[in-house]
Symmetry: C2
Subunit: 370 residues, 2 copies
């Protein structure tokens, strides 16, 4: 099919989402079937306002610079398309002669992909995986996760060295990942240096019990001063209720999810007050997904591949699909891009498997490393 | 004078404090006047427990590795020596045939240096400047500051890109520096990219007024969505009282300073509740002084120089002094190490000059950049 291509992003930016855009532009420029390469600014929300930018003539040098810039150069959004948007959306796509619609994002954004492909058969719709949370189903892992995981691993290593130099306090490090513990668990990579942080890890998939937590901290403190405790921002108690709720109605995202409060500060105060141990919190927050210096080279290349492979798949007349990475081998590391039906991943959250948290961290939500 | 050397660190670690230690070892090994090069683990506190390690035979390769490792390999402490420690201290120094006593740290640690030099004339006492806060007097700037400033500048740049990609919230970024705004002000370097973060900056030297703050944020928000507000951890109100106090008695450091609470979270909640604008906080905390990836090369070399120059000065029979950096020229950048009397810097805090904050940020504690 001859026509134009449009790409847009949904959800939070990552340090490598621009690499996926670079992959799309590079590949699309090579195909005679694609006339113009458009990006919609601010995701599907901007697309519905016809905020198109033409990237067809971007130079190879600029594409390379784009690839190496963190955050999203074309913006992104947290907008869930509604029934009443469908007509306008189709009109806009038609007016711009769009034959190829690519959308980058996580499970919420793949719902957008799924909807677009369900309302038109004239356009090839392909999803590009992206989430630092790594909670997309089926794909081995997700572009964006590797860099954020590397950020948490190296940051935990350095924080561990810092805390060990004074040996006078507990540092509670808060990791992103609202409902899944992949990023929190990545802090465990820092333990490749024996005895280093994190000394305790708490995942959002396991019910959090404050008494158990205080007991864990006291026991660890009795063995060594200078502790790093890694916690997920999305910890919930045994009733599934967030440990800390954001205190205001603005703390709801565009998909209606209630945002978590400041878990690390809450727990640091708990340690201070209940155990009389000096405690503080570190919460890099958005910084963890924006850091260029700690980007993983593998993640960067895979993000680029996810974009270019999405274009290739669309050009093969596939639609309603998402790119995934299939693990050929772990050692040596080898991944193969494939596509799956986007409905298999839309709105599905991939949690940390029980067996992993049990082997890495000995008890229910964690415990000190063995 | 023939004898041994001992070095110890006081205060928080930095990303380059090991470089100062490496500078000391390198220089000391070259002098026939120095027999053994000792480090006392855990600062003056460990020295009083005779926790000596002999670093004389460290290889050139290991010294290079040490130089490039963040945090303090020999630990550090927050202990203020007391009158009753003097006798024991002198005994220990005598037992170990110490002729050269070097101590790394900020204004509190220089008080330790000053005391040691006041109680003995037999030992050469030299202070090595170190503080991420940059609040040591006389020296142009302080080893440790450059790297932490680079961390905040680049982090603010990246955070600004991230926030601008969604344009839906205010991010309150908390910078370290309890009483001085040098680190908070370093976020302003990110504005070399026009329009980028930070959009508002609040320093601890200027009284903080909540109504003014809310008015600043609302005005900035009316002009652009997606704001980064940089705040010092040590903000105080018009009465000089910390905006947020840590909630427990464990939050007092070894020098009796009350530690600040979580200012960024407090202000983010204020913005949410009072202005109905979605707000969140980022608080890298200790991570900002531990990051190897963002170390400044200039800072690293100066930290090394501060150590080696301290040894050279001690060997010239100088005592009761501290190394400072004297600015020969800004463009091209040129610094010269010198020494000053340590009593000139002990317990003195160098604040941000009024004229700077007035020119960089337009009003009392700041305002949006012009």
């Amino acid at each position: 099919m001859q026509g134009n291509l449009v790409i847009a992003h949904g959800g939070g930016p990552t340090a490598v989402i621009n690499a996926s855009l670079a992959g799309v532009i590079s590949e699309a420029k090579r195909s005679p079937k694609i006339d113009r390469v458009y990006a919609a600014k601010w995701g599907i929300e901007g697309l519905l306002q016809e905020l198109f930018v033409d990237l067809t003539d971007m130079s190879t040098k600029d594409i390379e610079r784009l690839k190496n810039t963190p955050s999203s150069a074309i913006g992104t959004c947290r907008y869930k398309i509604k029934e009443q948007d469908h007509k306008k959306l189709l009109e806009i796509l038609k007016n711009h002669r769009i034959q190829y619609f690519l959308y980058t994002g996580g499970n919420d954004s793949m719902d957008t992909c799924s909807r677009v492909s369900s309302i038109t058969r004239d356009i090839r719709v392909v999803g590009i995986p992206k989430t630092i949370d790594n909670d997309l189903a089926i794909t081995d892992h997700c572009p964006g996760y590797g860099s954020a995981a590397r950020y948490y691993a190296l940051t935990t290593l350095e924080l561990g060295l810092d805390v060990a130099a004074l040996n006078i306090h507990v540092s509670v490090l808060e990791a992103m990942g609202r409902n899944t513990g992949w990023l929190t668990a990545s802090t465990a990579l820092a333990t490749e240096i024996r005895g280093n942080a994190p000394h305790l890890i708490y995942l959002p998939e396991r019910p959090f019990n404050e008494d158990k937590f205080l007991d864990d901290v006291q026991k660890a403190w009795d063995r060594r001063r200078g502790l790093v405790v890694a916690v997920s921002e999305g910890l919930v108690n045994e009733q599934g209720i967030p440990l800390v709720r954001a205190r205001h109605e603005t703390a709801v995202d565009g998909f209606g999810h209630v945002l978590p409060g400041n878990v690390s500060q809450y727990l640091a105060e708990l340690v201070s007050v209940k155990l009389n141990i000096r405690a503080r919190s570190e919460k890099p927050g958005l910084i963890g997904r924006a850091s260029k210096a700690l980007v993983s080279d593998v993640d960067l290349e895979e993000a680029f591949t996810a974009g270019s492979f999405a274009v290739k798949s669309a050009l093969e007349d596939r639609s309603g699909i998402m790119v995934v990475f299939h693990r050929i081998s772990g050692e040596p590391y080898s991944m193969e891009p494939r596509v799956i039906d986007v409905s298999e991943v839309a709105n599905v959250e991939k949690k940390m498997p029980d067996r992993w948290s049990c082997s890495i961290f000995s008890s229910n939500c964690l415990e000190e490393k063995q």
